[in-house]
């Protein structure tokens, strides 16, 4: 009887696979990425190494000594006192306490402050509170400290915002009106991000984490890139991390461009140069996890995509490896065996500069 190894499905469930099944899934996942992204396969040696990492008998694995990389975080401190919606554990504490716990108890390389709703727009009415908190955080911490939030352009559409919802307009075949609504929303989003970050920089922030750029489609990315460009111009030394939302930029508008490049349909390796051009210091590529496929399929696919993003990026890449991306199972409590294996594979095979 063939030896079976313990692996995970993309939803986190325990499964058992033979070597032949694992290698077949690794190759199939790799081929899917190579086909979609028009990028090269990873090598046979790298596939073998992926197999070795996936089948290590230990519950938790780690990178080889000397290959460690810095880790950046989205949402950060909200994990401590936040509710389930933020994957928070609901421990009553201030954001300062959460940040200090990450720095001094958990060994975080960087950390960030974020609004409990974790988008830029809701931070506007409470900006003085955010500034005061950033000042106190900066007085008490040492690691690089960002202000983090999602651009989240959907908040600018009705019923939450001032511009008519493009989804409603498109359903009525009002395509040009829908595009105009996205263009107007993008201008407001850029303006709001810059306004907030001007105040956070005045409060001592090291920089900004653009989390989930493009979640509302190409208009969201357009607005974010222009905000990055404006911030870099005003603050030459600001730290800027630009992280993706999903693996493919959705063309909600379809014709928005940055630096002469159409944003719709861009994969991670194609987005990285644009983030660098706008002025980001670090790019956060994303590859989605397919819950119906095995961990081998997902990791083979994710490593293939990310390796190319690292190669094509002019700036360091901190791969997104939260729940449901980067080969991590789509699960609120992702298992340590799956997380540590995906983490090791991204560092040692994809060659990421950070996580």
């Amino acid at each position: 009887m063939a030896t079976e190894y313990k692996l995970r499905m993309g939803d986190g469930k325990r499964i058992f696979m033979t070597k032949e099944q694992i290698m077949a899934d690794l190759k199939e996942g790799m081929a899917d990425a190579a086909d979609l992204g028009s990028i090269p396969d990873i090598s046979a040696d790298e596939l073998d190494k992926l197999f070795d990492i996936l089948t290590m008998p230990s519950r938790m694995v780690g990178v080889e000594l000397g290959k460690e990389v810095p880790v950046t975080h989205d949402i950060g401190t909200l994990r401590i006192d936040g509710d389930q919606g933020n994957s928070g554990v609901g421990i009553p504490s201030s954001r300062l306490v959460g940040i200090m716990m990450h720095e001094r108890a958990f060994g975080a390389d960087t950390m960030e402050l974020g609004h409990i709703d974790y988008s830029y727009k809701p931070a506007k009415p409470v900006i003085a509170q955010e500034m005061q908190t950033m000042e106190v955080v900066q007085q008490n911490t040492i690691v690089p400290m960002f202000y983090g939030a999602m651009p989240n352009m959907g908040l600018y559409y009705t019923p939450d915002g001032p511009f008519e919802n493009p989804g409603d307009l498109m359903k009525a075949f009002k395509i040009e009106e829908a595009r105009k609504s996205m263009e107007d929303s993008a201008k407001h989003l850029t303006r709001d991000i810059v306004w907030i970050m001007q105040r956070m920089m005045a409060s001592g922030a090291d920089g900004v984490n653009f989390d989930t750029v493009g979640a509302a489609g190409d208009g969201d990315m357009y607005a974010s890139l222009h905000a990055i460009e404006a911030l870099r111009k005003q603050y030459p030394d600001i730290y800027i991390e630009s992280g993706m939302a999903g693996e493919l930029m959705l063309g909600m508008h379809g014709e928005m461009e940055y630096d002469g490049v159409t944003l719709a349909g861009l994969w991670p390796h194609q987005q990285a140069p644009l983030a660098a051009k706008a002025g980001a210091n670090v790019f956060g590529p994303v590859v989605n996890t397919n819950t119906s496929k095995s961990g081998a399929w997902n990791l083979g696919r994710a490593v293939t995509f990310i390796k190319q993003a690292v190669k094509d990026s002019p700036i360091p890449c901190h791969v997104n490896m939260g729940m449901g991306v980067g080969g991590i199972p789509m699960l609120e409590t992702p298992t340590i065996d799956a997380v540590s294996r995906a983490s090791k594979a991204m560092v040692e095979i994809a060659g990421v500069d950070g996580i």
């Binding site: 460690e68 060994g107 960087t110 900066q138 001592g204 991390e241």
Partner: protein, 105 residues
């Protein structure tokens, strides 16, 4: 919590427990890739790149350099004071330190 801490334990540089904050600063302040950032910090600290993730080396060195340690040492530089020492050590400017200096009369 299992996800971020798993990443820190698997791949991270342990922040101020070792030298992860310093390497991250060079990535963000100078767009340095991981190898360049580690080389830069290691040269400034006069250690090897492997030492940057070694708590045994970094614990005492960080205290000697006044750049902050993970345990609460009474009287040791913390917060802005530690970051001012990091500015000198890495030859960079840190925004919160600049703001602090601008408020002094």
């Amino acid at each position: 919590m299992g996800m971020p801490i798993s990443h820190i334990m698997t791949s991270g540089m342990s922040g101020i427990r070792a030298a992860g904050d310093l390497v991250a600063r060079m990535q963000f302040s100078e767009n340095m890739r991981i190898a360049d950032a580690k080389d830069y910090v290691a040269k400034k600290l006069d250690v090897t790149t492997d030492d940057l993730s070694d708590e045994y080396v970094m614990r005492e060195l960080r205290e000697d350099l006044g750049i902050g340690v993970i345990t609460s040492v009474a009287g040791a530089p913390k917060g802005i004071a530690a970051k001012m020492n990091i500015e000198k050590l890495l030859d960079i400017k840190i925004n919160s330190c600049e703001r602090f200096r601008n408020q002094l009369r």
